[in-house]
Symmetry: C2
């Protein structure tokens, strides 16, 4: 399976992002890419950097022309598209979502971000209702794909449930960056934690993992985020297959879904899970 990861700066308008993305899709199609992955909320500057009611205007409804447009792009280029977007479900209910368009332009499925962060510069709880679709891999012509979004990547439970439901790979569109006030040492620790936790989901579940982040500096008058890129693909032992740096980069990567069978025979973690002893995972905390 040939995958394209689009690590780019975000332009200021949705229109600019659409036309740029369209060109990248055409380029990818020429290279026979099977699935192209954009980063979290890739059509918009990272508006969660501040509290602004008018930002809700950026959200797309199911019948949006933009969604139809990307469906057409998938169909006319015979390419599956991981399309992260700001979803307006109804008045007062908005989600941070992904649509997976199959190669024929049909909507293979949708994922709504389950774990919502809320930190200075990442005011997501103001904008997004936590997802209510659970952790469901999406069936498409390429297989069963577990799509999760950004903050989800810190929770081993999300990756595990996707794997238990038969996901053959995990894809994390994301938007994460450095706070310029942190030291270089602290920044490096954070980046390495981010790479390590995602690679660990590959290892624990013997699955390839794909993560796509944006790059560039975005700011309002209070916050500055330097999105750190470092999009990557790793194999089912967590080994890097390709990794981008800190600047704009489009990766074209061959991913072999058959490796998992081999790794799961050598490292049979799923055989040995003590699942009857895991009930406490479903608790908030166990007070003593």
């Amino acid at each position: 399976m040939k995958v394209c990861l689009v690590q780019k700066n975000c332009n200021f308008t949705i229109d600019e992002n659409i036309s740029q993305s369209e060109k990248i899709i055409l380029e990818a199609a020429k290279k026979n890419v099977d699935i192209i992955v954009f980063s979290e909320l890739f059509l918009c500057r990272y508006f969660c950097i501040s509290y602004e009611q008018k930002n809700f205007d950026l959200a797309l409804e199911d019948n949006s022309k933009i969604i139809k447009h990307f469906s057409n792009l998938a169909f006319s280029n015979n390419i599956a598209i991981v399309f992260p977007y700001f979803e307006k479900r109804t008045q007062g209910i908005y989600h941070n979502s992904v649509i997976l368009f199959d190669k024929d332009g049909s909507i293979a499925g949708k994922y709504r971000k389950m774990h919502i962060p809320d930190d200075p510069g990442y005011f997501e709880k103001f904008y997004f209702t936590p997802g209510d679709l659970g952790f469901e891999p999406i069936n498409c012509s390429l297989g069963k794909i577990g799509i999760l979004i950004c903050w989800d990547q810190w929770f081993p439970e999300a990756a595990r449930i996707m794997a238990l439901k038969g996901a053959q790979m995990l894809i994390y569109p994301t938007a994460i960056g450095f706070d310029g006030k942190d030291s270089k040492l602290e920044q490096n620790k954070q980046l390495d934690s981010w790479l390590t936790i995602q690679r660990s989901h590959a290892i624990a579940n013997s699955l390839p993992v794909i993560s796509v982040n944006r790059v560039g500096l975005e700011s309002d008058n209070k916050q500055k985020i330097k999105f750190w890129g470092n999009s990557f693909v790793c194999g089912p032992q967590g080994e890097f297959i390709e990794k981008a740096g800190y600047t704009e980069q489009i990766l074209f990567v061959d991913v072999d879904l058959n490796q998992s069978e081999k790794i799961r025979r050598t490292w049979p973690f799923f055989r040995d899970r003590r699942y009857k002893d895991y009930a406490e995972i479903s608790r908030c905390f166990i007070d003593t």
Copy 2:
């Protein structure tokens, strides 16, 4: 908290291992170590390399003189001891266990390995009944310590439940090595997977993790295992604090349990867990 990690070759007899370990405990006590950690089944060559009924003779019962001896060593040196051993519980029930001796020589608690591997050269299912004590951190004078053993390290559920029950750090005595038949590339992948998955438990749970492996070549007439060492301590962002190489090494490391509070404020994963949506973790697999 000052921790000592004992990464060593295993001698051929239990007596040799006891007297060597005793010397190391005395040395550690001189350096004001609070807790010393030995590797999995450190009193015995890794007998699970083959199927031999006579190996059950190596197991210790609760009233064993050896257990009493280590209790005395803890008391007389004012040092807590993580004591991994082959436990005989009754005829026909043996466990791969750890006793935590507190500084006063009392038994603070016991952990019985929950996840039991079974692979060529690691025939543990022949020897060990899977643990029935669950994932319970052990309270001692130094705090609440989550002790897990070797194969447990591949299961994020084990680390998570320990953290949800208030563990302040995780300790993994282990015995894992290379199969000489694997390529160097494959060996490096395996070692890196092992380091990465354990560091990920530190990250996901914002806790320090300590892992202690043996070194040396052990073999029977069919199998050879080159135990890979690489014992380490990492902090709550998964950052290495100290790491050993492939040969005998005793590490003395200061571990700061107060870092977790700071990290959990900056990276509040526990605030955002969707624990009501994790019930499927308790399933073997979800067939579709």
